[in-house]
Symmetry: C2
Subunit: 273 residues, 2 copies
């Protein structure tokens, strides 16, 4: 069996995928940002538990979050839907209502009937006039910021009810000089490491500064994933952002107020440190 990591690396080497979205030049109209994502029954959600609207909503909202994470404005979405045999009219309509509810104009689609439910959404938007924000622009002494509290997304159901940070991006692109950005889908530690790797930088992440959702833990904030808040770096933030650390030219470390320092790892930090 193919190893997922090997396969994703093989794919990344072939397609010029720009961070969260494909970046396509359509000058002078602008730069088109395109993201495609699947939500599959039994893999990302359960049809009999979360329901049809959640499938439509989550598929489109994830794509909108990807476009926002590159500093763009999501404009349109198309969805390829597979409905399970025996689906009711109410369930079928629910998928489309959910997709529309994400807040992006649904301009087309394809509907099949098959053995299981899925929604594959493609969201496309336009990059801000400043150009798309990549993961690779973080520079030493930049601040590290998030747009909101993290952790506990699965337990709370936020992972299929989150609001993509489109309005925040609109404000930030005008007010803040963002050097790098990503949406928090894999968890703060993993997604921050994506920025650090792409930028060739390190960080001092301040454990106690990380905003944690009610009911969640610091470890959850670092590793749960699917928060869909934005993680960004900039010389200076604004009042809508929470500063959680600083980019450095050293290692990636998580620092505690008692002076402890741990190596930041994709699965949180080195507990054995």
């Amino acid at each position: 069996m193919v190893r997922e990591r090997d396969l994703l690396r093989w794919i990344a080497d072939r397609a010029p995928v720009g961070d969260d979205c494909a970046v396509l030049e359509c000058a002078p109209w602008g730069t088109l940002l395109v993201s495609t994502d699947s939500v599959i029954d039994g893999v990302h959600l359960r049809w009999d538990r979360e329901g049809p609207e959640a499938f439509g909503y989550k598929a489109v909202a994830r794509g909108m979050s990807d476009v926002a994470a590159m500093g763009g404005e999501p404009l349109w979405a198309v969805i390829a839907v597979c409905l399970p045999k025996g689906v009711t009219e109410e369930q079928a309509h629910g998928v489309y209502r959910g997709a529309e509810g994400a807040g992006c104009a649904l301009v087309g689609g394809d509907t099949s009937f098959g053995p299981l439910a899925y929604v594959a959404a493609t969201v496309f938007g336009r990059a801000h006039a400043k150009g798309p924000v990549l993961r690779s622009g973080a520079r030493p002494s930049d601040g590290i910021f998030v747009t909101g509290p993290l952790g506990g997304s699965y337990e709370s159901g936020r992972h299929y009810r989150f609001t993509p940070r489109v309005a925040e991006v609109k404000r930030l692109m005008d007010q803040v000089d963002i050097s790098a950005m990503i949406d928090l889908s894999d968890g703060l530690s993993t997604d921050l490491l994506h920025i650090l790797e792409a930028s060739g930088a390190g960080c001092r992440l301040e454990a106690e500064a990380i905003p944690v959702n009610e009911g969640a833990t610091l470890e959850g904030a670092l590793t749960d994933g699917e928060d869909y808040e934005l993680l960004l770096t900039a010389r200076e933030g604004d009042e809508g952002l929470v500063r959680i650390g600083t980019i450095t030219d050293g290692e990636a470390v998580l620092v505690f107020s008692d002076g402890r320092e741990e190596a930041l790892r994709a699965r949180g930090w080195e507990h054995e440190g």
Copy 2:
């Protein structure tokens, strides 16, 4: 259970889907044409019979055919792939090789591992400077033309190996004043009725003029579907087109050289006349 036809009508009433593609104005760059399609194991192809490359190829080629059918040039594709558990590296790579082989730049994707194989492809293209060709422009006395022979697509395996008529569209858009166009996915009779309904017109379709693939029958040419040749109407064609009838302001009829006339129906014609 929801009836497919009712559901598709309900969807069509909600989204402003323009014929085969969504039509999105990105002036002054041009008009963006977007098509999304699924190819699902056990529904459109079989993973264990046609193989992974066929999934990638067919999904992208269908979208390219949709863009061509609106007079556009396919530029980019993204694919959302679900690989079945236990997939080998060779199979996984095959999906992407097949998608690339369709001849459109693969610019992004999303890969999941789930209970069955599917590829949902979204193809983006740009309409010709003359503007997108719709289904609704056919006018009485226009000729009806096809780009090649029809029928027997399933038996021959052409339904997953066809070449989207991109080069033909490029030539035709420069040389012919096309009034309406569609790609032949549902079969000549059904797809011609789509044009007639959208245009508020009728036709005289000449049975013996319809080019039929070797091994296929006239009935197959009218109803098999998935030929992915283009069906178009125009005042005059060119040497690369086969004229098969004429648009009228009367009924849709299939005429035979012995003088018989039958009503054209989605499933071929009225055998009981």
